[in-house]
């Protein structure tokens, strides 16, 4: 029902600062989590990374989005749940070491 203009506008998402999709098609619309209150209590020194596994090469050292190997699936990767950047903030320095 939308008026389809023949001139293709360049899409830009203000939320993600990217040209790969528009505001109205932003994955953050659905990839939003209801997080538990105050689970940032544990001290930073005792942090241990959770179990990881790569959906692309199987390695237990990283998630699939950070895989250095060539992608096996032919469907393009738009960014998934299985990424170090989807870890809670306090774990990220440890993961991206």
């Amino acid at each position: 029902a939308n008026c389809k203009s023949k001139v293709k506008k360049r899409t830009y998402c203000r939320n993600c600062d990217t040209f790969s999709h528009g505001d109205e098609n932003c994955p953050s619309i659905w990839r939003s989590y209801l997080t538990k209150p105050n689970n940032d209590q544990s001290d930073e020194e005792s942090l241990v990374l959770p179990v990881t596994a790569c959906y692309n090469c199987g390695s237990s050292d990283h998630y699939g989005d950070e895989c250095p190997e060539p992608r096996s699936s032919r469907v393009p990767n738009l960014g998934t749940a299985f990424s170090g950047s989807n870890l809670p903030r306090k774990f990220r320095p440890l993961y991206f070491l």
Binding site: N39, C54, A81
Partner: protein, 349 residues
């Protein structure tokens, strides 16, 4: 029936997504929360009522008692979805007869039991399938019309049910995700292992593996039950778009049950399929067994998962941009799940 032929009859049209009746969530600010609530409504809708639970228990107990009387020294057990409370309306009951001597899986025992059940009016439409890899008796309970399969001397189903019940306790929200994925597969007719579909145990392991590995779940930063909407989309995202079926095996560490992937190249024994594009899930109880050896239709499975991701995501974008008026009465799940069959009462307790 008229319904099956697509004829529209006068009177209120039967909804294809009856679970949203009187449960409108269109005013939710976050679309993910709307989907989460709709999933919970769907689960309430398909969950067995107390009457249905009583019926199933009655059928099971009657068969257990009668079989034990007929064959002293044997015991009949329930396994499968009925033993884990992961059954959908109309699911059949799986039973297995275990004997002290361990030698009841043979043609004459199968026929003995089938004529006993028939003569006692405990079974109708009885079929003896003696030549299959897993010989069974199939029949219908005359009172409840529930379909029942009885196998012999195989304990693996009982062990699997025990394992699943443990996971359901330690992973609140697993049940909800499994029921949605099962109904989705059923709507697409991809749940029948006899024609290459995905079985119940495989579906459960995929859900459990996905949840345990999820960065937000594994770090304890979210409750699964509060995030069923986004997690369902991410389940389809993983298995419909990103997982390398060509190279990887879905596995749980036998000691810790932690999720991991094995490579097909180094685990040839599990590679039962001819093509590399095949789903392989290692049996948690037997590392040499691939529980998805019959699920040969991976092409359609992956396409269905990928399509569900696409449909859900597009619906989220559409509804996010829609006015309150246009949101009213809409269903997000309705694009991926149809619920046919008798209208059910909500199970709100």
């Amino acid at each position: 029936s008229a319904d099956e032929q697509g004829i529209i009859i006068d009177g209120p049209k039967k909804s294809l997504y009856p679970w949203i009746k009187d449960h409108d969530h269109s005013t939710q600010k976050e679309i993910a929360d709307w989907l989460t609530m709709e999933i919970k409504d769907f689960v309430d809708y398909v969950s067995p009522s107390s009457d249905e639970i009583v019926t199933r228990n009655t059928v099971v107990n009657r068969l257990k008692t009668q079989i034990a009387k007929f064959w002293p020294g044997t015991e009949a057990h329930v396994f499968g979805s009925c033993a884990t409370d992961l059954y959908l309306p109309g699911s059949d009951i799986d039973m297995v007869v275990i004997s002290e001597t361990g030698d009841y899986e043979n043609r004459s025992r199968l026929y003995q039991l089938s004529s006993f059940l028939r003569s006692k009016k405990l079974a109708k439409n009885v079929e003896v399938i003696a030549n299959a890899k897993v010989p069974i008796i199939k029949f219908v309970d005359p009172e409840s019309e529930i379909h029942i399969d009885v196998s012999f001397e195989r304990t693996n189903g009982i062990d699997a049910a025990k394992r699943i019940r443990k996971w359901l306790i330690t992973t609140p929200g697993l049940r909800e995700l499994v029921l949605i994925v099962k109904q989705f597969l059923r709507s697409r007719r991809l749940n029948n292992v006899h024609v290459g579909g995905l079985g119940g145990y495989a579906t459960i392991i995929m859900c459990y593996h996905f949840l345990r590995l999820h960065p937000k779940v594994s770090t304890g930063s979210i409750d699964i039950l509060d995030n069923l909407g986004v997690l369902l989309i991410e389940f389809f995202e993983l298995y419909g778009r990103n997982f390398s079926y060509d190279n990887l095996i879905i596995s749980l560490d036998p000691n810790t049950e932690e999720p991991r992937y094995l490579t097909k190249g180094t685990n040839a024994v599990l590679n039962t399929a001819r093509s590399t594009f095949s789903i392989v899930i290692q049996d948690p109880a037997d590392p040499r067994n691939n529980i998805t050896r019959s699920s040969y239709n991976l092409r359609d499975l992956k396409k269905a998962f990928g399509g569900a991701y696409q449909l859900l995501v597009e619906k989220c974008y559409e509804l996010n941009g829609a006015s309150y008026k246009d949101r009213l009465g809409q269903s997000i799940l309705g694009d991926i799940i149809r619920f046919k069959g008798k209208e059910r009462d909500f199970n709100d307790d």
